[in-house]
Amino acid sequence: MDWEYAPAPESAAIGRIKPRYQMFVDGAFRDGRGSDLVTLNPGTGEQLSTVSTASSEDVDEAVAAARAAYDKYWSKISGAERGKYLFRIARGIAERARELAVVETLDNGKPIKESRDVDIPTASAHFFYHAGWADKLEYAGFGPRPRALGVAGQVIPWNFPLLMAAWKIAPALAAGNTVVIKPAETTPLSILVLAEIIADADLPPGVVNILPGAGDVGSALVNHRGVDKVAFTGSTAVGKAIQSSLAGSGKKVTLELGGKAANIVFDDAPIDQAVEGIVNGIFFNQGQVCCAGSRLLVQESVAEEVVAKLKSRLATLRMGDPMDKNTDIGAINSALQLSRVSALADSGDDEGAERWTAPCAVPDRGFYFPPTVFSNVSPAMRIAREEIFGPVLSVLTFRTPDEAVAKANNTPYGLSAGVWTEKGSRILGMAAALRAGVVWANTFNRFDPAASFGGYKESGFGREGGPAGLGAYLTNAEDGN
């Protein structure tokens, strides 16, 4: 029987999108000195709102406000008091979850079911988790009297705008630092709603400052002399530039960069769930995930079966309006990103890989790229080596566990990996052998505030989440450096 699901769009009005947003500095919303940026709805390609941006003077003022807030207030109050503020923010996010989900989907293009069920609840969970640590830092494993670093300068990407903000702000505040943060140019809105929640929580002025803008604002922020700690999530190229410009500055740095994760399926895997994990690994958030399982390594003896099941599963994915509650695959975040994904996929054709595209109708407006699987991929091809950051999966095969490890580790990146097998000893052996910060066993793309996340090699250094993530914002030195 033909059974078409009727459109089930979430109401855009719930997002209460304003025509213009301002930056948030020293406890107040105000215009920056930079020129306004226009943010688009990637689902339609239409203008969503305009946002005032910061200039280098605004960066100076924000850093000064953060320093003053640190000196006068935030470093003086007890951990228990800091925890209260964080709990308030966590509850504020939960209370405005539906609004935030709509804002996120309109600004980012991800399906509403993902922003509703993953991004926003997990962002709230990060504040709740770190709120609990604020008065227990001496038990976090960093010595008897860990101290805050001072002012944290943070730059976050566009793939999980609010969640990345939570990953950065929550541990910084819990550890006693104040924050100046720059959201991505294409997704500044949800963090400015978070700014309202922060203001409503009566957080002292200057403890959190939010500066929308492009790369120049980020560069001015991380290089600012008043910043004690830099945390960056984004591309490896920018991460390298930040690291070289900060060399010798004495600033503490954590970088969470790109990835080209291997998702390794052994012949004794739970095949149906492995197929689900492959789908979730590379098509969650349209593949715009730094830890995406973009390289499927499947044992030759089951490769045909796995790929056949994968293709029939992909044929059931629903691509389209990100606001529709039944949409599985939403829009790519920007025209620029869409062209990057398209160009890398074309290189797969040119280098002789075999392209298969899921039979999805591509909407006639907005930025969409259908789920794509390349088979006959060799490790030398660009699609097997470069981070595509889109819904494109490269399928490679292996014969033995050693070959799987060798191929999985044969990348400059090392953020995450997945292992699918029913054999427990093999899971433990693979986890030890894989050079990746996160290894998922019989699952993929699971995030929990209590689990630390971060990379090996060119995927960056430092950890976020869990006690290890707090460590990035703490020091044992008596002078606070």
Partner: protein, 346 residues
């Protein structure tokens, strides 16, 4: 499917390798359909069957439940909802399986099956009524002249704790009284103790007794303990010739769940991919309202495929579900809720 209970090889079966045959001997055969070699080989003898079932890929509970939970978030509105409600009504096996069942109760259930909503006559009829064997004649008389199925539980329902002779007699009692579908239970004790040959033989024998009467094989998943066992029992029932695999008797909690049904839908889908045969699935027990029913239909749609959105291939074993479907159907048509006083008790 052949209509006889044959103990020997059928002429049209592919040649089988007998090298691995062991002391347990040959399994009973009811089905003479041509199976691909690896499936035909699986039923040569009990040790082959055990090896086949042990070789099925494992089931990861976290991933299975995650997919079920994800599908349960589908939002089915407007026309697609009305379509789903009508489909769900047409898939109901309207059931009464109580010690207190009387002819009067069964007649009133049959009347409900014929005309689920007397005020809205174009409401679809249900697929079948499902009763104990001694009530089949009453149900058959009350449903004469309709195409509503008469399903009977059999084989020492619900526990399955009796001899094969009793189970055969129980099945014959139901069929002779007019049952057009038989819902048998597997011997869970035999399954859990590893005696899969006995389970296979019983299913195949009962299928032989049933002939063209469609056989639903109740796995009683609530007693099987693991998803791996549910998958094994599903394949066992399919190999032995069951037309349906059914989750539960309704007497054990948990009864039907979305993850278990997902697993069984995957099994019939895989069976179709390997043999070209369409087998059916019936979750039973615990499905009480329209929202739940629609979640199951979404799962049928996206896990097995649109082909299974058909009362021939999917059923709901339920009693109170029907009234909620009828109330929701009225709501869809009239734009406001009516209430339980406007649908008939059964």
């Amino acid at each position: 499917m052949s209509t006889t209970n044959v103990q020997d090889d059928s002429q049209n079966r592919p040649a089988r390798n007998r090298a691995g045959q062991d002391v347990t001997g040959e399994l009973t055969r009811a089905s003479a359909g041509i199976l691909p070699a690896h499936l035909a080989d699986a039923t040569v003898d009990e040790s082959s069957l055990k090896r086949f079932l042990a070789g099925l890929p494992g089931v990861d509970p976290v991933g299975l439940e995650q997919r079920s939970a994800g599908l349960a978030t589908r939002s089915i509105k407007r026309a697609s909802k009305l379509q789903a409600i009508d489909l769900a009504i047409s898939m109901v096996d309207l059931t009464t399986l109580e010690g207190a069942d009387t002819p009067g109760k069964v007649k009133s259930l049959a009347a409900k099956a014929r005309r689920p909503d007397p005020d809205v006559p174009e409401t679809p009829t249900v697929a079948a009524v499902c009763v104990y064997p001694d009530m089949v004649a009453t149900a058959a008389a009350a449903l004469a002249g309709t195409d509503i199925g008469i399903a009977s539980v059999a084989t020492a329902f619900p526990s399955g704790r009796s001899s094969l002779q009793i189970k055969i007699a129980d099945t014959k009692l139901a069929i002779d009284a007019g049952a057009t579908e038989v819902d048998m239970v597997i011997d869970r004790g035999a399954f859990l103790s590893g005696n899969v040959g006995k389970v296979f033989d019983e299913i195949a024998t009962i299928k032989g007794v049933c002939g063209d009467t469609r056989l639903k094989v109740i796995l009683e998943t609530g007693e099987l303990g693991t998803y791996d066992n549910v998958r094994k029992a599903s394949w066992l029932a399919l190999l032995a010739g069951g037309d349906f695999i059914k989750t539960s008797t309704g007497k054990i909690s948990p009864a039907a769940t979305l993850p278990v049904t997902q697993l069984m839908l995957t099994a019939v889908r895989d069976w179709f991919d390997e043999t070209g045969e369409l087998r059916a699935v019936k979750p039973a027990g615990g499905i009480r309202n329209t929202k739940d029913a629609i979640r199951y239909l979404v799962m049928v749609h996206e896990v097995a495929g649109p082909q299974w959105l058909d009362p021939f291939l999917f059923r709901f074993g339920a009693s109170s579900l029907l009234n909620d479907l009828l109330m929701q159907r009225r709501t869809q048509l009239s734009g406001h809720y009516s209430g339980p006083n406007y649908v008939t008790v059964d």
